[in-house]
């Protein structure tokens, strides 16, 4: 859509977020442009998941604004935010364990949005993307392997026909060949024009896929820039992300 190209897909401006009394995000700002992939990096406990949770509405921001293609969504209920088109692949996958693979996809289905002329996601399309899930469609999600659960978590988010896809450490705890597969899937989604925020500890993977990078450190964004530039600048990576 023309308006989609004119505005930022996701704009986070000056977010402060708390868990009870503990102040975790301090004025976090970053921008995701339509059809691009923003890599959000940072050490353990830096506040990446908290960012995702705040965007998703799990946590209400105390200050700051969140807008999706120009529409304010900060402070809305998570189900409203999901229906507006922000879908999350959560850290730790968080499958509905007592639902089958098919049911996990079914409950997350949202109407198709006119997302830049791309075809909407259906269960069949998700099964085409992940043939393993099709084979296991009647199995309980809790009985899947870690890699399969990650595929299901991605498929479940896609069923919401995301305008912005948030992925929180999709490579965490997976064997190298599965990580490579997840990487291929993300690249494919990006090639289709999907706007993505990718949180990763796997810096190599993130730098390979991302157009832009934001680095967060103890709840503060300490660096923003082009992914290519960061790839060539070891100093930034070692300063903010430790060993590389």
């Amino acid at each position: 859509m023309a308006t989609d190209l004119a505005t930022d897909a996701l704009d986070i401006a000056g977010i402060d977020a708390f868990y009870g009394d503990s102040h975790v995000l301090h004025g976090v700002s970053f921008t995701l442009r339509p059809g691009r992939l923003l890599g959000l990096l940072g050490r353990n406990g830096a506040g990446k998941t908290t960012c995702m949770n705040t965007i998703m509405g799990f946590l209400k921001p105390k200050r700051g604004s969140i807008s999706l293609f120009g529409e304010h969504v900060g402070g809305l209920a998570p189900d409203t935010i999901a229906r507006k088109g922000i879908c999350l692949v959560p850290q730790g996958r968080r499958m509905f364990r007592s639902l089958t693979v098919r049911e996990n996809l079914m409950v997350a289905a949202q109407r198709t949005r006119g997302a830049g002329g791309r075809p909407g996601w259906t269960m069949d399309r998700v099964f085409d993307l992940f043939p393993r899930l099709k084979e296991r469609h009647a199995q309980f999600a809790g009985s899947l392997s870690g890699g399969e659960q990650q595929m299901l978590a991605i498929g479940r988010a896609l069923m919401g026909n995301p305008r912005v896809l948030l992925m929180d450490e999709p490579s965490e705890g997976l064997a190298p060949q599965i990580v490579a597969e997840v990487g291929r899937i993300i690249a494919q989604l990006k090639a289709e024009g999907q706007s993505i925020v990718l949180v990763e500890q796997n810096i190599r993977l993130a730098l390979e896929l991302a157009d832009d990078i934001a680095i967060i450190n103890t709840g503060v964004v300490v660096h923003k820039g082009d992914a290519k530039a960061i790839k060539l600048d070891d100093a930034i990576v070692s300063q903010h992300l430790g060993v590389f």
Binding site: P78, D79, A82, F96, E103, V107
Partner: protein, 288 residues
């Protein structure tokens, strides 16, 4: 004589278990989803019993009485959820206490409207004559109650396991935050499940009328039984509510018939054991 005792007690246990299932299935689903025990659930049952008794008293058909009880208590339930529990969202302690308060209010209103004397409810005329099978006399009405409970169990199973709505409810029981995160309107589900529980409890009260009568204190007699069922079976588990209801039905009836002095001990001991050794209940899931 001896045989007759065992058979009648068994049937009493099964039919009482059926009533308990009608009472506790919705209670358990709401408990699993909303994470609060609705302590007004026993009062819902009593209210249903009075509603049913009243309709029958004024010459209404028995099935109409059960319908009226379900609808009437359903309205009370929806009002409680929408106007009292919802504004307290996130305040679990407040919600639980408020349901307890509501149960006292309902009990007082019942005392005012239906007086302190018990209302006996006759079984429908067609079901009063015992059913004679192989020389044994079976109380027909109790058999009908068992059939009603089984029909309800199958319908609830279908709803929970074979529909998108049921899958959404189970998703909410599994991980409520994530359910919201995939766009499931969880607060609407709260209303649906709470309403379902209220309707079932109200109808159960009407169906229980001919067996238990409607009397002050019926609420307090039933609520602990529903709580035991849910603790045994696991909150949010339909299968757990089903199995738990019949276990409690048997323990309650045989406990009272064989060891009247120890009836409550027999009833609460299994609950204690389950709490100590299987805190999630027999069919419950670990809390997220």
């Amino acid at each position: 004589m001896q045989w007759q005792f065992w058979i009648v007690q068994t049937l009493n246990s099964v039919s009482f278990g059926g009533l308990l299932f009608l009472l506790s299935s919705g209670f358990s689903l709401a408990f699993g989803l909303m994470r609060i025990p609705n302590l007004a659930h026993g009062a819902f049952f009593m209210l249903g019993a009075y509603f049913g008794a009243t309709v029958v008293y004024f010459g209404g058909d028995f099935w109409l009485a059960a319908l009226a009880a379900g609808v009437g208590v359903g309205i009370v339930g929806i009002a409680l959820e929408r106007f009292i529990l919802r504004p307290l969202a996130g305040n679990v302690q407040g919600q639980v206490l408020v349901t307890l308060g509501i149960s006292f209010i309902i009990a007082d209103v019942c005392l005012l409207v239906w007086t302190g004397d018990p209302w006996t409810v006759p079984a429908p005329p067609a079901m009063r004559r015992p059913l004679l099978v192989a020389g044994f006399a079976f109380p027909t009405y109790r058999l009908v109650v068992v059939v009603i409970a089984l029909v309800a169990a199958v319908a609830l199973y279908f709803l929970m396991e074979r529909t998108r709505l049921g899958a959404m409810i189970r998703a909410g029981v599994d991980d409520m935050e994530m359910a919201r995160g995939v766009g499931i309107p969880v607060s609407l589900l709260f209303t649906v499940v709470f309403l379902l529980g209220a309707v079932l409890a109200g109808a159960a009260g009407a169906f229980g009328g001919p067996i238990l009568n409607a009397y002050p204190g019926l609420d307090a007699d039933m609520l602990p039984l529903a709580l035991i069922v849910v603790i045994l079976g696991g909150a949010g588990s339909l299968l757990g509510a089903f199995v738990g209801s019949f276990i409690v039905g048997f323990l309650y009836n045989f406990g009272i018939a064989l060891f009247p002095d120890l009836a409550y001990f027999i009833l609460f001991l299994p609950m204690l054991l389950v709490l100590v050794f299987m805190p999630q209940g027999l069919f419950g899931r670990a809390a997220p």
